[in-house]
Amino acid sequence: MTLTVAPVKKPRSRKIGMPYLLLLPGMLWLITFFLIPILTLVKTSVNMDLKNYDPTSAATGSFWGNFWEAFRTHEAPFARSFIYALAATLIALCIAYPLAYGIAFKAGRWKNVLLVLVVAPFFTSFILRTIAWKQILGQQGPVFHLLLNLHLVTYQSHITASAGAVIAGLSYNFLPFMTLPLYSSLERIDPRTLEASGDLYANAFTTFRKVTLPLSLPGVVAGTLLTFIPAAGDYVNAEILGNPSTTMIGNVINAQFLRTSNYTLAAALSFVFMVMIIGIVLFYISRAGTEELV
């Protein structure tokens, strides 16, 4: 008598309508309040002719013309956004990786508590934390006083209102977005693979370089994206910690939308920015070789 063991399969239901029923409400929400708005934004961005801008005329701009005009007139803030975001992402990666590594491998039963501590700053409000940094580093703050007493700065110098302060603020504010994906990919590594590497006479550094780091790469990709994207689009850090020459594209778009009410320019800038971001994301994902991000 032969005994057959059924192969372990993921239980997938055969009901055909069920997945669509589950998807329907959420997808409808995203189509109505994400996809259609983005398409409306594209439409709005050609509402007026940006090249010969005259708010009273009804001339509509050409599709590519308006995007080119929006980009050309704001090259510097665009460039600054990407450079600051890149610098902030790299700093955040250097700070978050050992942190996530420690939580995943060295924290023992404190693991969950430490994870919560990573997210906990969210609850004090992002703006409040940025203002706190401004005051800590500002001329009346403790750091400045210390440096003053050590004769490293003078009364005329300042730490805030600089590009460095904006980058520091960005890397601080998005640190949890970097740490969590790193942690979840590190946590999934089977400790036995690390032991095996040690058994094969690899030292700690080689083990890290050849085993741990490659296995944690999906977390690095997800974390850098989740940090880079919001950092590039942020305007709060540049507004609170920067000066007029550290204006990022977010500051421009925000001002055009909410103060100047030049919706055509604001929409064109937003669209150009979004296309650039998605281009960078797709390029990065294809280079990093992760097939499915979500």
Binding site: V8, K9, P11, R12, I16, M18, P19, Y20, L22, L23, P25, G26, M27, W29, L30, F34, I36, P37, T40, A96, L99, Y101, G102, I103, F105, K106, A107, N112, V116, L117, V118, V119, A120, P121, F122, F123, T124, S125, F126, I127, L128, R129, I131, A132, I136, Y172, S184, I229, P230, G233, Y235, V236, G250, N254, A267, S270, M274, I278, V281, V294
Partner: protein, 264 residues
């Protein structure tokens, strides 16, 4: 000397973690300390200790009603986004269907779009449709950007389940619905709870998208932003600090309860 350097070598990661968490908590510590400041107009310089701000957390116009708005919006958005997102996660994790790439893209794109673009495009459509900006437009926006994060979190949990557990239930003559109710759902529940917590914290802390779609309604982050230039009252520090401490206590309590349950 040698033993000292060895101690450093062995505890390098731990030392690093202490430094990392210190960095993470410096501005929060600052916020907490200055919530006790006996400030006059702007809360910039330390002028002495007082309990006064903690005794009158609502002593500044709008601050508590704005906090109320933030909490109401956060809870509503979390509730809706968690349900919608969990449904999508189950569809993606448990069923084969056509149009999967479209669904994946539509989940991924909101996370890959800068908040500014999300907020601006929603504002454009609300203006075009003649919506009154306010409480409900903020809720709509928050649900929209929370869904993707819920889907990703819950989907990861579903993917990590051992399929043999459900198979075993089926072998023991549980039908599909019973298997779901008694095996699958309880196993996925911690993932759903985590997703809800994440959604709430994203919603509660959101500034950029809210600023675009709020009209005249103010949430707590907007209150802080609007008052920053005139000088922030210490009551804002009180509320920021207490939200932080409450969140910490709730989660730590949850940890202790779940650990006890595991032991019992």
């Amino acid at each position: 000397m040698k033993s000292l350097s060895r101690w450093f070598g062995r505890n390098l990661i731990r030392i690093y973690m202490v430094l990392g968490f210190t960095y993470l908590f410096i501005p929060i510590l600052y916020t907490i300390i200055f919530s006790f400041n006996d400030y006059i107009k702007s809360n910039l310089v330390w002028r002495g200790f007082t309990w006064h701000n903690w005794q009158t957390p609502c002593g500044v116009p709008n601050i508590c009603s704005d906090l109320g708005n933030s909490l109401k919006i956060g809870l509503l958005a979390t509730f809706v986004a968690t349900i919608l997102g969990t449904m999508i996660a189950f569809a993606l994790g448990r069923y084969a269907f056509k149009g999967r790439p479209f669904v994946n893209t539509l989940i991924f794109l909101p996370m890959a779009s800068p908040e500014l673009v999300l907020g601006a495009s929603l504002l454009t459509i609300f203006i075009n449709l003649g919506f009154n900006l306010g409480f409900w437009t903020i809720v709509i926006a928050h649900v929209m950007f929370c869904i993707s994060f819920v889907v990703v979190t819950v989907k990861a949990r579903i993917a990590s389940l051992d399929p043999r557990l459900e198979q075993a239930a089926m072998d023991l003559y549980a039908n599909e619905r019973e298997t779901f109710r008694r095996i699958t759902f309880p196993l996925v529940a911690p993932g759903i709870a985590g997703a809800a917590l994440l959604a709430f914290s994203l919603s509660f802390d959101d500034f950029i998208i809210t600023n675009f779609n709020s009209g005249t309604v103010e949430t707590f982050p907007l209150f802080v932003y609007h008052n920053a230039e005139r000088g922030l009252p210490a009551q804002a520090n009180v509320i920021g600090s207490s939200m932080f401490l409450i969140a910490l206590i709730i989660v730590l309590a949850g940890q202790i309860v779940s650990r006890k349950r595991k032991i019992a």
